[in-house]
């Protein structure tokens, strides 16, 4: 095993957590990500294979789906992002590629992104200061790609009082600053 020590998107050795008022903002670095894009005309094959082999039924437009330890959310026509714990599935993309073969293009995306899970009462007050997404009417288990703090982000509603915001990793600090500022503003 290699000896290289990872750092989190915010540059720490361990993920950062901030509590401001009722809001908790947690840096999440323990999830592997892989994009799956069906090859031409292969969308049904991809759905079938993932359903058969890992029990994951790929979600439709705007939605997410879970089949522990995997989750998936829709990112574009015939495209999804699949997540799984990094600890056990660091090579998620390779695993999926083995499963899917020539039916899909699979790309490792784990470190392309930073993720903050924002939780607590007042969640919607916070996100309506960051994004034009209609967060108050977003159901649990839906995901939307939009902008926040001048960044392209995914907002993934994990639960009534929990939203994951997934943004380009290099801008983690700016996004985090925006989350903190909005949290202070509503605290």
């Amino acid at each position: 095993m290699h000896k290289l020590k990872p750092i989190t998107p915010l540059g720490g050795n361990t993920p950062r957590q901030d509590v401001i008022g009722t809001i908790t903002i947690t840096e999440v670095a323990d999830q592997a990500l892989a994009s799956v894009a069906a090859r031409r005309g292969q969308a049904n094959v991809v759905r079938q294979k993932l359903s058969d082999q890992i029990g994951l039924s790929l979600p439709d437009v705007g939605n997410a789906a879970d089949a522990a330890p995997f989750s998936a959310f829709w990112t574009g026509p015939d495209q999804w992002m699949i997540t799984a714990p990094h600890e056990s599935h660091e090579l998620l993309a390779s695993e999926l590629k083995k499963t899917l073969g020539d039916s899909a293009s699979v790309v490792e995306q784990t470190d392309g992104w930073c993720r903050f899970d924002v939780a607590g009462a007042g969640l919607c007050d916070l996100f309506e200061r960051l994004s034009n997404a209609p967060v108050r009417t977003m159901a649990s288990g839906t995901a939307i790609r939009t902008t926040a703090e001048h960044l392209g982000v995914f907002l993934w509603r994990l639960a009534e009082e929990r939203i994951a915001v997934i943004a380009p990793r290099s801008s983690a600090g700016s996004l985090h600053h925006g989350l903190l500022a909005a949290a202070k503003s509503i605290a």
Binding site: H2, L4, A29, D111, G112, S170, S174, A182
Partner: protein, 984 residues
């Protein structure tokens, strides 16, 4: 000072006394006061000076339409000029100053303008100040500029925070007067998502300003009841202190919420204001009406106010402008002002009504068919001169005058798109016409229905109908009985033969100015406004436009609607720039992108530079180095002599997969990619469809159906967008999938003769990276440091034996440290963008300065790369004659004839003889650097026909900085022109 003009009752909290200062004097008021109401209560009528003539002015209105009472509020970085005293909420310690006067509000030197008003008519400046020619800019204009403007900015940075956000609703109700409250109540009870926005800090509109709006309950009490019910509804959001300022496309409204303007300063971490973008399915304009003045001689003295405003001060704020108030009107509505004043025992010497048939009012005399012909009082009204009948005038002593020429629907937001108001002959005012923004309706006084009853009923009905459009069934809320007296008004715009009768108070536009505009053929409304500056002041002519139009109509002999109409532009009232900028200020203006080695580079003391949104290490100073050149030269030399490492993560990376991936890249790049073997990298040039080069990079073939493309840092987003365009729109039948992986991989260039040796210590031993096994332009998926997945590319930007190695970003920091540690024995150096730039210039590689969006493959010396054997973006149009001239610009190297000269990028090139001017321009220098290897300054540049001019000498001219340097045209490949090092 005492609150001598404070009356009984009102919505001020007499238990909370607040101290404040105006122009250095101390006063006190109550919670619930505005600055204007508190000043009036303290007997202060003089609050400002007009823009042009510096006339003494008092408050005219009780709302955001105020043209006169503008002050500088707060001080230092928080000083806000032109704050309307009528909407500034009083807080303890408020400090305000009058503006546009010197040395004091009472004695204003510039009031001399008023004496010369005969010379300063509308447009006078277009006709003079032209002689002698130089005097305009040297003398006249500086004087005019100094005199211009109202309040001032201190220039200090605004210390407050601003927030921004987005709201969604079924129904946005704008205005919480009777119409708005009835609508919100109706929609709220129906379960719709409702936002009720009110610019005032107190909901209720005229309901809290009038004494008898409702029959069986006080307006204030009813408002409190309804507000309580609405606050209890989860589906209704009440937003007081929120001005909806603009109606934008598709039901989007801009609004600004003043979170902390009623406090001395916002609390720590809290915003002063919040800008909201409201996405509404339907919107209801319930913004009420604005009263209009009457133009007569000297109608602008402090103490002369709108009648409805006087009622608001009396009823809501329990302050009267004076103890003796005359009323002047053309309608019944203003008579209520007299009643309300008398009920509070304020003397009303008379009501002057222009209508011969005006009704009587108990307790005062009504002078019917009379008009005011002049007023007195330099700093405040002392009397009015009334023409009671022809040839007979009478002086009335008073300290305030409440005037009313009728009411104009407040229809600004209906005009922000294409809506043009239409004239309504019942109320003699413009009402909203056709072409309202989609989804918008209007109710109440804003629609021209001026009674309280009509507002309540109309508001509720409008809500029912708006929700019906959305499939939501609502029933009209039960509403109280209300005042429903019909509007009784006889149009009266101005008293004839006045010398100076003001229409636009702030900008000092009088009836005479309109006459002059007419005389000079500025008769269209647009010309009138521009020529006289009517309606151009901070109130956008809310109280003046219609009156001026009426005067123009008289002059042209046309009706008012034939003469024109007035429209308004966003914002409805002026909006603080801070709110429009939100959080995106200072360092947060744009997101900052950090590279994987950023933390490590910081530890090394690197100097960083902005490259787009990225921060990259520019160079790494070492102890003892005092000039950046020392660091950069060292980094270059050490890399060329041994080995250096540079973070190149910022280059765009796009993963291209699919059965047609190779065919797709063939379309994207000017050169061919179909035959690139797996395990190899190729340099590629991308053209725009117009044949101009715009990006270059590499594509590595990892499998038959899998490429990784790199782009320049600057163009990563653009190239990806273009690729998606080609994929989806031009080649829809290809099997290709794209995704950006720029951020997923930390990528380092390892360059220099010892780079292989260094990497051999990092790359796991099962991967042979010897020259034979892994030659120039090879690539492969490998592992490093004992099993970490990585990608290795043998490519070189520096011209040295070099590699780029990529690992998952989270390990980028550790990888950098590992490379440094492994390289210790070779004296490895990290190098920054500056050394990178020097080495690429030495090698003659084009970069952003050369790929400037106007240069072609031919210009860059890459003409042969553009394949004629296949289709690709840009190949057809690159063949146009004008882009293939014999003397086309050619990328060449330049070196100084005198090795000590420094070549400036941006210099132009001239032949050795002949004039130095644009006609003789031979080209320009794109990039320049000091080459520590060659011990001289070198440059790249474009020279006309330059490929055939090697060895020729030119003059590099830089007249901007007074330079002229002799240079020689050389090959752009200053180092290793044969590329032996690359392949070593």
């Amino acid at each position: 000072m005492t609150n001598g003009n404070r009356l009984k009752g009102g919505l001020v909290d007499r238990n909370t006394s607040l101290n404040f200062r105006f122009d250095g004097n101390n006063y006190s008021g109550y919670q619930g006061d505005t600055l204007a109401s508190a000043l009036l209560a303290n007997g202060v009528r003089l609050m400002g000076r007009s823009f042009k003539y510096h006339r003494p002015r008092g408050v005219l209105t009780a709302g955001s339409e105020e043209p006169n009472a503008l002050v500088e509020l707060r001080s230092g970085g928080r000083q806000e000029p032109n704050t309307r005293a009528t909407v500034a909420e009083l807080y303890d310690g408020l400090d305000a100053n009058s503006q546009n006067r010197w040395p004091s509000l009472e004695r204003d030197f510039m009031a001399i303008n008023d004496r010369f008003s005969n010379f300063l008519t509308a447009g006078f400046y277009y006709k003079t100040f032209m002689w002698p020619k130089a005097f305009w800019e040297k003398l006249y204009e500086p004087i005019i500029r100094r005199a211009a403007g109202l309040g001032s900015l201190t220039g200090e940075h605004d210390p407050d925070l601003y927030d921004k956000g987005f709201l969604h609703c079924d129904l946005l109700v704008i205005g919480a007067g009777p119409a708005g409250l009835a609508a919100a109540l109706t929609a709220g009870r129906a379960g719709a998502q409702v936002i009720l926005a009110e610019e005032d800090f107190h909901m209720g509109g005229r309901l809290i300003a009038e004494s008898g709006a409702l029959a069986d309950i006080s307006g204030t009490d009813w408002v409190a009841q309804i507000q309580a019910e609405l606050s209890g509804m989860g589906n209704v959001r009440l937003m007081p202190r929120t001005t909806v300022f603009g109606a934008y496309d598709h039901g989007i409204y801009g609004a600004v919420e003043r979170n902390a303007d009623h406090l001395a300063a916002p609390a720590e971490g809290k915003p002063r204001q919040t800008l909201w973008r409201i996405y509404s399915k339907r919107a209801l304009i319930a913004t009420g009406a604005i009263e209009r003045p009457i133009a007569f001689e000297n109608n602008d003295r402090p103490g002369i106010m709108l009648a409805g405003a006087v009622r608001a001060y009396v009823n809501r704020w329990a302050s009267t402008p004076a103890q003796s108030v005359v009323v002047f009107a053309n309608n019944d509505d203003a008579h209520q002002t007299a009643r309300d004043l008398m009920a509070q025992e304020v003397e009303v010497p008379a009501i002057i009504d222009t209508r011969p048939d005006a009704p009587d009012v108990e307790g005062t005399e009504v002078l019917k068919g009379a008009e005011i012909v002049n007023t007195s009082g330099r700093l405040g009204l002392t009397s009015v001169q009334v023409r009671v009948s022809k040839g007979y005038t009478r002086d009335l002593h008073c300290e305030a005058l409440a005037m009313s020429g009728g009411w104009n629907p407040n229809l600004g937001l209906t005009c922000h798109q294409r809506g043009r108001p239409v004239w309504n002959t019942d109320i003699h005012a413009f009402v909203p016409g056709e072409g309202l923004p989609v989804g918008q309706t209007v109710a109440g006084a804003a629609k021209g229905e001026l009674t309280t009853d009509a507002a309540l009923q109309g508001g509720a009905a409008a809500a029912v109908s708006a929700l019906a459009d959305l499939g939501i069934t609502a029933t009209q809320a039960d509403l109280p009985a209300a005042q429903d007296a019909p509007v009784s008004l006889s149009p009266f715009w101005h008293v004839k033969d006045a010398k100076r009768a003001w229409l636009d108070f702030q900008n000092d536009v009088t009836v005479k100015d309109v006459k002059l505009a007419h005389q000079e053929n500025f008769t269209s409304v647009e010309h009138l406004k521009r020529y006289t500056t009517l309606g151009m002041a901070t109130d956008q002519g809310k109280t003046s436009n219609v009156g001026a139009l009426a005067v123009m109509a008289e002059l042209t002999g046309k009706s008012i609607p034939e003469t024109g109409t007035t429209i308004f532009r966003p914002p409805y009232t002026p909006v603080a720039m801070g709110a429009l900028a939100g959080r995106a200020v200072g360092k947060e203006f744009h997101p900052t992108r950090l590279t994987p080695s950023h933390k490590w580079a910081e530890e090394q003391g690197a100097v960083f530079v902005e490259v787009g949104n990225w921060l990259r290490a520019q160079w790494f100073p070492r102890k003892g180095e005092t000039h950046w050149r020392q660091s950069v030269d060292r980094e270059v030399l050490q890399t060329r002599n041994s080995v250096g490492v540079c973070d190149v993560t910022t280059l765009g990376k796009i993963d291209v997969q699919g059965a047609d991936a190779a065919a797709f890249l063939n379309m994207m790049y000017a050169n061919g990619f179909a035959k690139l073997p797996v395990g190899k990298v190729r340099y590629g040039l991308m053209l725009r469809e117009d044949g101009v080069a715009y990006d270059d990079g590499t594509a590595a073939r990892l499998a038959e159906d899998h490429f990784v493309v790199t782009t320049t840092t600057a163009n990563a987003v653009l190239v990806y967008r273009n690729m998606e365009f080609v994929r989806q729109c031009l080649c829809p039948d290809m099997d290709v999938q794209l995704i950006s992986t720029t951020e997923a991989w930390a990528q380092y260039a390892v360059a220099g003769p010892n780079s292989r040796k260094l990497l051999q210590k990092i790359v796991d031993p099962e991967f042979d990276i010897s020259n034979e096994a892994f030659p120039f332009m090879a690539c492969g998926e490998i592992t490093v440091c004992g099993g970490l997945r990585a990608r290795l590319f043998r490519i070189s930007f520096s011209g040295e034996l070099a590699y780029e190695i990529a690992v998952p970003t989270r390990y980028g920091d550790a990888m950098m440290r590992a490379l440094m540690e492994a390289g210790e024995e070779f004296d490895v150096v990290p190098y920054g963008t500056e050394a990178l730039g020097v080495m690429r210039i030495e090698k003659g590689h084009a970069a952003g300065n050369e790929l400037n969006g106007t240069t072609t493959a031919l210009n860059l010396g890459l003409g042969r790369m553009v394949s004629t054997k296949k289709d690709c973006i840009g190949n057809v149009l690159s063949r146009r004659d004008g882009m293939n001239a014999a003397d086309a610009l050619a990328l060449v190297g330049l070196k100084p004839v005198n090795a000590k000269d420094t070549l400036p990028a941006g210099g132009h090139l001239m032949n050795m003889t002949g004039p130095i001017d644009a006609a003789n321009d031979q080209g320009y220098v794109t990039s320049a650097a000091y080459s520590p290897i060659l011990n001289t300054s070198i440059a790249l540049g474009f020279v006309k026909g330059g490929f055939d001019r090697k060895g020729e000498q030119l003059r590099l001219v830089n007249p901007l900085e007074g330079q002229e340097i002799m240079v020689e045209i050389v090959s752009a490949h200053f180092v290793d022109p044969e590329g032996e090092k690359l392949r070593a």
